[in-house]
């Protein structure tokens, strides 16, 4: 599903944000991506949805080498991936419904289908009662749930979340991760970047650890079997 083959990313000379990363995430898996601030977590995620281009190496998403996707066709890759940001990236002057509907509207779906899909996403994150609220009028935890609902509304194959609990307290963070678990149970591949080790311990999932751009921990097959 997601494959990195000798991937490097360099922003400035003589310093690598990502250094020779090799990893493979199969379809339907749940991974935590961890490491200290500046370890390269966000860069690695950005490489997946082609917000950044690798300096060297190949990245395969759903068997497609994304280096070869031209700018004009980038939307095809983005439609396979649901992205959740730490700062939510919601349109604050629009309603919860309108925000969640965006990925469906841009695909040109009919109103009835959009209504159905938004309703499903809202149910999954437990926000049906906030449907018509302006997003700036709801709490941070609810905003993050709206962001998750938006990410899953378009039926993506992969969900990527960059520090989705970074701005939330522990209780809300657990709630949010449980939502990701539910999404994963529906067969969606989930990759969550977090530096919160307590959360990682609480949810026994496979973990990729980065340190200064290097892959320091990546579960071997035996370890993966032990987890399950």
């Amino acid at each position: 599903m997601i494959g990195f083959y000798h991937v490097y990313k360099q922003y400035i000379k003589d310093s690598y944000a990502i250094y020779d990363i090799n990893l493979s995430i199969e379809s339907g898996e749940f991974y935590f991506l961890t490491g200290a601030s500046g370890a390269g977590k966000t860069t690695l995620l950005k490489l997946i949805y082609k917000e950044e281009l690798p300096t060297k190496g190949q990245i395969l998403i759903d068997s497609v080498n994304i280096n070869l996707i031209p700018r004009k066709k980038l939307y095809r890759l983005r439609r396979k991936i649901g992205i959740v940001f730490q700062d939510f990236k919601l349109l604050n002057n629009r309603t919860v419904y309108e925000n969640i509907a965006i990925p469906l509207v841009v695909r040109g779906y009919r109103k009835s289908y959009i209504d159905k899909m938004v309703k499903n996403s809202l149910s999954l994150v437990g926000l049906n009662h906030r449907k018509n609220y302006i997003t700036s009028h709801i709490s941070g935890g609810e905003q993050q749930r709206v962001a998750i609902a938006r990410a899953i509304a378009g039926n993506p194959k992969i969900i990527i979340a960059d520090e989705p609990t970074g701005n939330l307290d522990t209780e809300l963070s657990i709630e949010i991760l449980k939502i990701f678990e539910k999404i994963n149970n529906n067969g969606v591949t989930v990759l969550i970047a977090t530096h919160d080790n307590n959360l990682i311990k609480m949810f026994t999932k496979k973990t990729i650890e980065l340190k200064q751009g290097n892959l320091v921990s990546y579960p071997s097959m035996e370890e993966q079997q032990w987890i399950y």
Binding site: K72, L74, Y75, I83, K89, L91, I102, P103, G108, G154
Partner: protein, 298 residues
């Protein structure tokens, strides 16, 4: 259709949201198009004036004294070939003398001193009135006939129209030149306004890109916005042109009667108004496309 509707609503909202900058922008487009409209209107009136003038055009070609009858017939046949000609009359020297005596019988004593008629023979031409762009064609036709070896001189009441045509040409060129400069100024200004609007909505554009919107989906509302701004500029310019044309004659004493004869100050032809809307939309479209191209390139 849905995208067009949404884009239109978006564009109107954007124009209303950044009122000051967009209205300033609209003012500049309107000024550009108004300048274009004024020059177009003056040029159009001068054209009409010269066309009306040509309705009464008559040309008389006086022939040399030693011209043979065969040469005269050949010249008349050549003139008759032209589609511009309504009527052609040849007057021999004797006929010219007879006409003179009919008009001025008291001057008979002067002619009695000549053995032969002192008047030259002539070819008089009357031109058709329904030809389009008649004046220019007539001028060119007369200049062609004048080159003939049998023609001594000509008498044509079209010289004034010829001068008006030169003025019209000058005004047209000045208008195109001025409008051209303003055209580029407008493009530059709308380009920057659209750029500001794009930057203002950068977060929204980023979100749309992250959720898989196509470039076209993102660009379309901005293109509509540019075109709408240009179209509105054209409408305002057209409105201002109509108001100016209606008000100027009532309030300006300095406009001489002659100018009033040339410029009707009444009706603005539809083609000028359509031209303003067309150029306005083109200005808006070009500007927004440039802006978007640069944004997406970066």
């Amino acid at each position: 259709m849905d995208l067009l509707k949404k884009s239109l609503i978006n564009a109107i909202n954007n124009i209303l949201r950044n009122k000051l900058i967009n209205f300033l922008c609209l003012g500049i487009i309107s000024f550009t198009l108004l300048t274009l409209g004024i020059f177009n209107y003056i040029s159009y009136n001068l054209e009409i004036f010269t066309q009306n003038f040509s309705k009464n055009v008559e040309a008389i070609f006086y022939l040399k004294n030693d011209v043979k009858e065969k040469e005269i017939k050949a010249q008349i046949s050549k003139i008759k070939e032209s589609l511009l000609i309504d009527e052609i009359i040849y007057k021999s020297r004797d006929e010219a003398e007879t006409n003179f005596l009919a008009q001025f019988p008291e001057l008979r004593y002067i002619l009695s001193e000549f053995d032969k008629s002192p008047f030259p023979s002539s070819i008089e031409i009357k031109f058709k009135q329904k030809e389009s762009n008649l004046t220019t064609k007539i001028i060119s036709f007369i200049e062609d006939i004048e080159k003939s070896d049998i023609i001594e001189s000509k008498q044509v009441n079209i010289d004034w129209a010829k001068k008006v045509l030169y003025i019209k040409k000058f005004i047209s060129i000045t208008g195109i030149f001025l409008s051209g400069i303003l055209f580029f100024v407008s493009i530059f200004i709308i380009y920057n306004v659209i750029k500001l609007n794009i930057l203002y909505r950068k977060e929204e554009i980023d979100i749309l890109q992250f959720v898989g919107a196509t470039d076209w989906y993102i660009k379309f509302p901005f293109i509509i916005e540019g075109a709408l701004m240009g179209l509105l500029g054209g409408l305002i310019a057209g409105f201002l042109l109509i108001i100016s044309i209606k008000l100027i004659p009532s309030y300006s004493d300095f406009i001489s009667n002659m100018l009033k004869e040339i410029i009707s100050f009444k009706k603005i032809p539809l083609k000028i108004l359509i031209r303003l809307l067309f150029f306005g939309t083109i200005i808006g479209l070009i500007s927004s496309l440039f802006s978007l191209k640069k944004f997406f390139k970066n």
